[in-house]
Symmetry: C3
Subunit: 211 residues, 3 copies
């Protein structure tokens, strides 16, 4: 069952804004120049969806079909000096956490829905949703020369995306309308991520004794 | 000439298990959490073949067509705490070397064969074989924030893949049956890699005097 | 309006030689072995155009269609010990700067032209031109485990590519012949890059006070 296209666009715009913001914050921390800031914002915002579209062989790419997304991130990057440091001063690290959690939920469900529409199996659809949700952040961190944050955060992140995707897939299989199913999925993914950060839930590490 | 599909699947399963194992070992060394371990295992196992399929424009991707590969790596990652540290304690670093060498040979020949079947020239087919064999390991190391091991190992690795691909291409051109040709290719690639490690063969570095 | 194909090939050969040279220089600095040197030269020379072709879904890839490019970079890598250290001793760091600036201009315009021919909008075409021009260098630096140079150079680089693409797109829109338009674009992109380095033009960093 396909997401109504206005809802899908709303999800994608929200996720794009959220991840572009997280990219802008990281690039500033690294004291990058204008071009670095743009590139990292682009990679964060469009990396996940682009990889999904390449893997699914979807053309035009979502940011070619909706060129407005490009203008949006351009405008955010150009105006960032006006609003970002103010926003950061008022919210501290919480802005990054909130932007990331929102992007996570919105992209996980939009990615899962797009893959399902393209005829993928539930497992592959969930993986595409997770990829849409986390590849942008991984690209951001690789470009900033860090081990991807998501891999050593030791708090659930991709697992929250998986939980949201599973809820969406489950409700869809139960014939729940795709609008409600997708909202439930986003709430589960974003909400569980925010709870995980607020309550300090930790994932087990893998710590074998080395021989 | 096309590889018989059962042989191709056997090669791909073997290479997937081998590279997933190498990814699991690396991720553990980096003390990653569960999600990091999964991602690195996936990137190691599927990175090379996915890049090959994208470059050749093959769809469905091999792990979409054979979804069992995904379940296999999932199962390996989930059960890794049960067997991996025991296996490492009993084999030491040799397990990593062996898994890597096996994956190298199996993926090099399956990649070369797939590219040849897709109508590529021998040079491009050999490059696709090498890419299938080494991109997974490169992705693993980039995700772990290291200079890819294969680039500074100073022992033949990609060259072993090239040797195996060349043997396979040569025997195929001589009308040897593709089953025998591929077995010979795997033996040459994996065998030369194991010999290189055992005997300490070294590649020349490129050491110009800086001006 | 399409670039005459001989001009396009000349641009691509020139850019390939220039970026392969920059990759060879970087790989040598990192004391990589033969395979590392090859891979980094390949990634530098073909990374940008390959990403462009994947995003545009163009097949065969430009280096599959023109296999001579592969042989060219192979020959450059094999013979590099004969000429590269001599060339470096005589030109110092200037060879790297010149090769990079030339590659930048040639790939920016060829990428923009190819995207425009594929029916992309001017904004997307300019982005594809920039991607063609900078992704090779980014791949080179990620493989060498460095923050991409272009992101923290604090000198205009991608902006020079953008300026060249804009000139090309503007002149093409004004019905100037595509040969002249492309030459003007290359001169603007490469020339502004060389001027930026020579005169020490600096890009503003993004330096918000952290809250």
């Amino acid at each position: 069952m396909q997401l109504p296209s206005t809802l899908l666009i709303a999800f994608e715009v929200g996720g794009t804004v959220a991840f572009a913001t997280s990219g802008l914050i990281e690039a500033m921390r690294k004291r990058m120049d204008v071009v670095g800031v743009f590139s990292v914002a682009f990679a964060s915002a469009f990396g996940g969806g682009t990889v999904r579209d390449l893997l699914l062989d979807r053309r035009p790419l979502f940011w070619v079909e909706h060129e407005g997304y490009l203008w949006l991130v351009l405008a955010m990057a150009v105006t960032a000096p006006l609003w970002l440091s103010v926003a950061l001063r008022q919210t501290g690290a919480r802005l990054m956490v909130l932007a990331d959690a929102l992007g996570l939920g919105l992209f996980a469900i939009s990615g899962t829905s797009i893959a399902l529409t393209a005829g993928m199996s539930p497992l592959v659809s969930a993986l595409m949703g997770i990829a849409t949700a986390i590849v942008g952040g991984v690209a951001r961190d690789v470009l900033c020369n860090e081990v991807p944050h998501v891999y050593r955060d030791h708090r659930p992140y991709a697992l929250c995306a998986l939980a949201g995707s599973a809820v969406y897939l489950g409700l869809t299989a139960l014939q729940v309308g795709s609008g409600w199913a997708s909202l439930a999925g986003v709430v589960v993914a974003t909400g569980s991520r925010l709870l995980a950060v607020a309550l300090g839930w930790r994932l087990p590490g893998w710590r074998p004794r080395e021989p």
